[in-house]
Symmetry: C2
Subunit: 339 residues, 2 copies
């Protein structure tokens, strides 16, 4: 297979991307298409790996500057690295696209170049959250700030496929994020989505609160992109607050610092759990092509993690599986409405 | 002053409430009205404190059972402890009401018995969150799952008064919880509220994400009750997940347990920060009377914390301050609309 990496996405582009492309090509013994401004990339690639044969630069002369509004800039600069990279999926030259650039920019370019899977109204940014007992899939975590209830049903279907294929869950338990476990609790969107989710042939376990999510009682958690983003960001922020306070407290005395050294492995486990660098990248499910978004702050290590996630998605035929599940849903809905 | 305590609210009522009432009366050398089923309470109070003179039972013969839907049950049982207790505020026999009962039940009874401060469309459950550098006020954390933008303006006004009076902040920085710091980010509610908040005479600092909230960059954070509840519950859940994992890791070997002992003070600080028992209770701001809601799981210690919060609110004339601020807003709005 051939993976496509946007060379111009991360905060410190293109150096982390160049490094990550080289390592990924080496890791899988496969070609990697590195997309970006060739004049900038070619000499750097040569220096980084003179013997390189697998990383191929695809020229995208336009550069989206960090200060520019991403969507507006993408419109004015059609030969930007996201547009060009996504085009390679369309032509079949590559099977998955990874970018550490602006999420809105990736979404816009992905919708314009690849479009949505037939039957999906909105693509969803899909995260893997650590839980007490493993991981769970949460979507949407930021692509759509306002949703209709039927969007959430599509999120549930796509999320279930993702959990099945990536987490190996045979009948993923789908929870609807709410402010109480009891049916009937929630805002209007959640109340309406609840009724739809009961009848969609998924393993719907009802409403879940954050407590159940982190306890690992659901494999898939469905929510609108605004709420999902708050859930994501508050989890990260509390994790950071706690570790900052602990570090501060533990540098207070020699005894404490000695104690801290002894418990360091425990901290490393928590840190790893919470570390976006480990995650690498999140998929934009519902796009008609495999598209992954990484953190702007990604270093080479994080980008390699991202490329591994993309590689696995191709390996497990994720796109086909989602297209099939959504198509089945469409067929079912049509059958239901003719009765 | 006289505080009013719902004797029938907590999961293990009325024993924690009886204990808390006795301790509170002793602490402040003031009377406490303990509201609930007299037949149940009188003998227990006598046993707990034979010499008691300050805790006075006010009979409320109806009991709201835990399995009953709170609002529906409150309608059928008008002489329940919440209704009777809140009535005592209305008659002036008490100045603040505390209950560890169901939040929906308290809200319903408070609206029915005391009503809203003129000019407040929706009362807001208002929490005090720990931050890196102190605390911040967050509302609404669960009273209103769906909000209109003008509700959020009222939350901002009430929250500012609360931050000023309770946190001692002279010009509280008000942030609007969003999924990005840039103006224009957010769902439709947030985008609309943003414009209103810019022109309301508060120290509005714009959108904030969870990161800024926990870093202490705002004194007041405004959001709808559904999102606020997700923020609250996910913070608690992540805190619990981290401490559970750390405990588990640190009981893994003798060395680690020794290390854990040494760093225990650091953990206690974090635990205290995150502990609802320390908080005690949260006010329902916007009700025409001082009403506080505690955790169902509250023990006597937590209930005493709750009573202290209520006591302080009376001391600092919180209700007057909120009424004045809201009235000023009403006057300003009328003045603006006649131009």
């Amino acid at each position: 297979m051939t993976l496509i990496l946007d060379a111009m996405g991360s905060d410190r582009y293109p150096d982390p991307e160049i490094q990550a492309a080289i390592e990924t090509a080496r890791l899988f013994s496969e070609d990697v298409l590195l997309v970006g401004n060739e004049t900038l990339l070619a000499p750097k690639l040569k220096t980084a790996d003179p013997a390189n044969r697998r990383v191929r630069i695809v020229d995208a002369p336009d550069i989206l500057e960090m200060h520019e509004k991403p969507v507006e800039a993408a419109k004015r600069k059609p030969r930007n690295s996201m547009a060009v990279g996504l085009e390679l999926i369309k032509t079949g030259e590559g099977q998955a696209f990874v970018s550490a650039g602006n999420t809105g920019g990736v979404m816009f370019n992905a919708l314009r170049t690849l479009g949505r899977i037939k039957g999906v109204q909105r693509p969803a940014l899909t995260a893997m959250f650590p839980t007490r007992v493993g991981h769970c899939v949460i979507l949407d975590i930021g692509a759509n700030a306002d949703c209709r209830p039927d969007f959430l049903v599509e999120f549930a279907i796509m999320g279930s496929v993702y959990a099945e294929k990536v987490l190996g869950k045979s009948s993923p338990r789908v929870g609807l994020l709410s402010n109480g476990e009891e049916a009937g609790k929630g805002n209007q969107l959640v109340k309406d989505a609840y009724h739809l989710l009961e009848n969609v042939g998924l393993n719907f376990i009802g409403n879940v609160e954050a407590k159940e999510v982190f306890a690992g009682e659901a494999d898939v958690v469905v929510t609108d992109g605004f709420t999902g983003n708050v859930l994501l960001k508050s989890s990260e922020a509390v994790g950071k607050l706690i570790t900052d306070v602990l570090k501060e407290e533990m540098s207070g005395s020699i005894i404490r610092m000695a104690g801290a050294l002894m418990v360091k492995p425990a901290f490393l486990r928590v840190k790893k759990m919470m570390d976006p660098r480990e995650v690498g990248a999140v998929p934009l499910l519902g796009i008609d092509g495999l598209v992954f978004v990484g953190h702007g702050r990604s270093d080479a290590h994080a980008l390699v993690s991202a490329m591994k996630v993309a590689h696995q998605a191709v390996d497990i035929h994720l796109l086909d599986a989602i297209q099939t599940a959504i198509q089945d849903r469409l067929t079912q809905t049509e059958a239901d409405s003719t009765h």
